[in-house]
């Protein structure tokens, strides 16, 4: 399959890339979502601006209070990062389960969240981690709280002419004690249902909890009812069972040939419990 014709431009920096976009340009990161879409002609930009060689946004750096993951960091580089494994293990767990090694070697975290596939793993993990998305545009830089980033079906707060330069993950008690669990579509390994859970325990009881789902609805979301139900209680199997009710309440649950609405609703609760029980 051959994409429609476009002009390819290789950007040397993020500022370069923003300048190259023009009216009909699109950013190419690792290309693991965009290139298949171009081949199926679901997408046909006039200009494709490649940021896959911009080294400045590929790194993972440990700052005192947070870890910054470059927008161009590959899933494989996140999967093998020791700092993240200690500060926010759910990121490493999720990265290891994305697609397959070939996809993980090219695909990037920035590309994934810009694409915002409703079944992608990163949106749930980043919601649970209380991340900040660092964005650059022609006027400068801005930061978007992850809770304001995912807007709907393949829709985000990212605007025309903007590039995700990094994701900042706070070094918090809840991120240190975090886990990801998913029910995989066996061929693509996208999440039919995925849950990221991060729980801060202080003095034997839950001080703060963040629980987020992906694969369930038009975009990833936090389950605040579960988060609230856990606070102030010991994290035990019984308390997890009691706290996790219908985690799809108020959501339009997807139905497809992998999982019906009813089955997916059931799976969502099962995987919310499994993610939390990984923290026991």
């Amino acid at each position: 399959m051959i994409p429609t014709s476009f002009e390819y431009k290789n950007a040397g920096s993020v500022a370069d890339a923003i300048g190259m976009l023009g009216d009909d340009g699109q950013i190419l990161g690792g290309g693991q979502s965009l290139i298949p879409a171009l081949k199926l002609r679901l997408n046909s930009p006039g200009v494709l601006v490649d940021i896959s060689k911009v080294d400045a946004i590929k790194g993972i750096s440990d700052n005192e209070k947070s870890i910054t993951v470059g927008g161009g960091a590959t899933h494989a580089s996140i999967a093998s990062n020791a700092d993240l494994d200690s500060a926010a293990p759910m990121l490493v767990q999720a990265a290891r389960e994305i697609g397959d090694i070939q996809v993980r070697n090219r695909g990037t975290i920035g590309g994934s969240i810009a694409h915002a596939d409703p079944a992608a793993d990163w949106p749930a993990v980043l919601l649970a981690s209380d991340a900040n998305v660092m964005i650059q545009n022609k006027d400068g830089k801005r930061t978007v709280d992850i809770d304001q980033f995912f807007k709907g079906f393949y829709e985000t707060a990212l605007e025309e002419g903007e590039v995700i330069t990094g994701i900042s993950i706070p070094k918090s008690g809840f991120n240190k004690n975090s886990a990801y669990a998913k029910f995989k579509q066996p061929a693509s390994r996208f999440a039919i249902v995925g849950c990221a859970a991060a729980v801060d325990i202080d003095g034997g009881v839950v001080k703060e909890a963040r629980v987020a789902m992906t694969g369930v609805s038009e975009c990833a979301y936090r389950v605040t009812a579960v988060e609230k139900a856990l606070v102030g209680k010991a994290l035990t199997a019984e308390n997890i069972e009691a706290a996790v009710g219908d985690v799809t309440e108020g959501r339009d649950v997807m139905s497809d040939h992998y999982a019906s609405e009813k089955y997916r609703t059931h799976l969502a609760s099962v995987y919310a419990k499994r993610a939390l029980k990984k923290l026991l």
Binding site: F6, N10, I35, P36, A76, Q102, V103, R106, S188
Partner: protein
């Protein structure tokens, strides 16, 4: 719309012009006549098109040739040296790791990437590493044995 690229493939540097939309797999097969790299599903699923770019296994149907400018690419044709089979090729021959052979180039490229990072993988680790490579003949059993053969051979000759 043409892009000037310079790509080192199996040690030889090729310079040429490609349209932006040319996929790396088509560049290898059509422009360089290296037809060992196969196009299977053409949807980033089957792994028959796996090659190494700068030492890492990737799906060449899901990368543009223009993106490989300046990169070093290894295809299945680059595995053997001085007329001698690479241990992974020998393994597939000895352990009957192929039937129709269509998936074999991709299997071998993923396997060599695995063995570079993990010289003594368990059976489970081998099976997990092959997640992105489909075989519709063998049931994978002999492919796993072929990779174990190569790991053993590489350990004794290293």
């Amino acid at each position: 719309m043409a892009n000037k690229i310079s790509v080192t493939v199996n040690g030889t540097t090729h310079t040429g012009e490609v349209e932006g939309r040319v996929l790396l797999v088509d560049y290898l097969r059509e422009h360089l006549s290296l037809t060992g790299t196969h196009i299977g599903c053409d949807t980033s699923s089957c792994g028959a098109c796996t090659v190494h770019v700068d030492g890492k296994a990737i799906k060449s149907c899901t990368m543009l040739a223009a993106q490989a400018d300046g990169a070093s690419v290894t295809t299945v044709e680059g595995l053997s040296s001085n007329g001698e089979l690479h241990p992974i090729q020998e393994g597939f021959k000895e352990e009957h790791g192929l039937q129709c052979g269509f998936c074999t180039p991709g299997m071998m490229m993923t396997a060599t990437d695995l063995l570079k990072n993990n010289a003594d993988p368990s059976e489970q680790e081998i099976r997990e590493a092959l997640e992105g490579n489909f075989c519709r003949c063998t049931g994978y059993h002999n492919i796993v044995k072929s990779i174990q053969y190569a790991a053993k051979k590489m350990a004794t000759t290293a």
